[in-house]
Symmetry: C2
Subunit: 421 residues, 2 copies
């Protein structure tokens, strides 16, 4: 499909808007967020009508029921989106925060101030709620945003984007502060990823292929979420009842999400007391279990785990279990196979708890709690723009602060520099 | 030139070393830094001998005297490098710093801990002092480093790198914590830039072409310093004597560096009282002056500035001057032509000072001080790994903290998540 859509002009308009947004007061941005929530509810009939067209087209194309379900909006989903925008309005404004200020011997006062990044491009797949969430987070953090959703949700996203932009304009902020790319043309995305002078950051949200393509193509910095291959390690001497609750929660509570456990590591000393009962509970909950030879010997019926199991993000009621000889072996397994999203230890030993915290290289490291807590809301950051599995700029759940950068500000009274001193 | 050098094996060894470095104590890293300083001084004859070979080859190739000077090591330069390493040892260790910790309603305690990035690749041009500075900063921040200097300094860098690595090994840290790429083969750099699983960050230091090539080629995140097109804006009602000192310092004290002023903006109200005397002082200091028509009318002898002057980083005793009608026009000029490195206002008006600080989009924004202070030492960060003109991860002078990332750490007592709540 070809289009003549001018993405550069859209990005240019966003850039211009971003300057005004950067100096908008928190009050004005909050008024915009409330107007966005109101606008979506007032214009819900229009959104539902266009969403019904997307849903009908998706059905006609034979897309899976799960896909169609994610695409479908109803009153309670729309209300949740509106509530999300109101919650963002309640969060503190990160822009203008001064995160430190110090005085130099020559009297200069140097500090760091949070400012917006500028223009953010978000490339995502089917869920239309991302349109509202991402628009709200970007607006609150003073960034203009260009939203490019999945082609199957094109009409829905365009409807939501138009309503949100009108709401932003209604409080006197630039209408081009947020824009939805109105075409599914892939050439437009490709061009978008070249606009390094106009767009400051690209956040892809979706499957592995989308993220790989964006990473390989983009000339703009990318923050992405790779995959979540999370471990729970049950240490020698761990509280067995606690370990069972934490590991069961990490696997079963919502297996389809990135912070669910995929591999359980169990110290050999605790394995005989822990594994048989725990696996029985898993099996009762419908979980299929694979394991190393030692795990298989301890629990009859466990299927053998192949080498690739240790690197597989199941996102399903499936678990691989490995019995390890030592704490060191658990650390080495995680270093080799973990995806850097979240890792947990269940232990009663303070020294090993602290070593695990320090040495495990992941966005979030837990002692005696479920990896399922890896989430912006659960961490108290209010709302999140996904979870970064990168190390640069943002690591772990990304809140409003991660959509800003810090500049140095310096107050002087006429100071000049003398390099010869 | 072709080589069979195995950069992947070097990066793999650095990756392995990085795990040990990440958990090394501050004391051990400081001992390594002092051993590195001692090693350079003890083995200075070897360094000077190999440096003399590089210098002779550079002369034979007909490289400029300025180039040969930058390449040449002598006792005082080597002592300065050793002193730099000892100063890094005195800085606080960023690794393990907990930058915030809070308790959630469910009793989880969530915090953020600084950890090393892992492996850093530095690609730089002729100055051999970068080899020691960069090695020291990376080691202190717990990162392994791969150093790829200019081909003209190959023998010098290899000598320094070998001595530094031996010093690191002498205190019991991995010898492969730092490594100098021993070949000028460009195919090796190209391959280095593809090793995204092994190297976490690339920092190019050098001219515009080097940085553009690295940015376009690298599959690893890059932090770079583009250029420094810095403005000083003299506001209406500014203290004229202060403005003269600040602007003179920004232009003349060291014109060849990125934080020197390239364009002076002067409010029309203050221009008649300020410009004639200031330009006379510049001319006396050997500065050539170009200006807009208004500046030319005020000061006879000023050459006309062409449109491209406003976008040119002179790095020389050359200044372009523009008289503006308003504060807004100054902001617009800076937004259009500034490179985002450093910008200064000289003003007596508090409101405009604060607007300039907030609204100017640059790594460092100054009120009543010279842009020449844009520097890690001057800001009190101790030592710097260059100045980032990017917004992501690090903006402005990069100190030790900017060579780390922050992970979330979570202490629980058995908490599990219930999404249905």
């Amino acid at each position: 499909m070809m289009s003549n859509f001018d993405i550069r002009a859209m990005a240019q308009a966003a850039r211009t808007a971003s300057r005004e947004l950067a100096r908008a007061s928190g009050e004005k941005k909050n008024a915009a967020l409330r107007a966005m929530a109101d606008g979506m509810l007032h214009s819900c009939d229009k959104i539902f009508a266009l969403n019904a067209e997307d849903v009908a087209a998706a059905r006609a194309e034979g897309l899976t029921p799960a896909f169609v379900d994610r695409l479908t909006l109803n009153v309670s989903r729309l209300e949740a989106m509106a509530r999300g925008l109101r919650q963002i309005a309640e969060l503190p404004d990160p822009v203008g925060d001064i995160t430190g200020m110090w005085r130099r011997p020559n009297g200069l006062t140097v500090g760091r101030m949070r400012v917006p990044l500028g223009v953010i491009g978000i490339i995502y797949e089917s869920r239309p709620n991302v349109t509202a969430d991402a628009a709200g987070l970007c607006l609150k953090s003073g960034n203009a945003v260009i939203l490019r959703g999945g082609r199957e949700a094109l009409r829905t996203n365009a409807a939501i984007g138009g309503i949100l932009a009108a709401a932003v304009a209604s409080v006197g902020l630039p209408e081009t502060s947020l824009a939805v790319v109105p075409t599914p043309d892939r050439a437009v995305v490709k061009e978008m990823l070249t606009l390094a002078g106009l767009i400051d950051l690209i956040i892809p949200r979706g499957g592995e292929e989308l993220i790989r393509t964006v990473r390989e193509t983009s000339q703009i910095p990318v923050i992405a979420h790779d995959k979540g291959l999370c471990h729970t390690y049950v240490d020698a001497g761990a509280d067995i009842a606690m370990a069972e609750e934490i590991a069961f929660n990490a696997k079963v509570e919502r297996p389809s999400v990135c912070n669910a456990m995929e591999t359980l590591l169990v110290h050999v000393e605790v394995a005989p007391a822990f594994l048989p009962r725990f696996v029985a509970r898993l099996v009762q909950a419908g979980v299929k279990v694979r394991g190393c030879p030692r795990a298989q010997r301890l629990v009859p019926g466990v299927e053998p785990a192949a080498e690739e199991d240790w690197d597989t993000e199941y996102l399903d009621l499936l678990l691989s279990i490995r019995v390890v000889e030592s704490f060191e072996e658990a650390l080495a397994h995680i270093a080799r196979h973990g995806s850097g999203l979240a890792e947990a230890i269940v232990t009663s030993d303070h020294g090993r708890a602290m070593r695990f915290l320090r040495e495990v290289d992941a966005g979030a490291v837990f002692v005696n709690a479920s990896t399922r807590f890896t989430d912006g809301y659960e961490f108290g950051m209010g709302a999140e723009m996904g979870i970064s599995t990168q190390k640069l700029h943002a690591r772990g759940p990304m809140g409003l602060n991660e959509l800003t950068c810090q500049k140095f500000i310096v107050f002087g009274e006429g100071q000049v520099r003398d390099s010869r001193r």
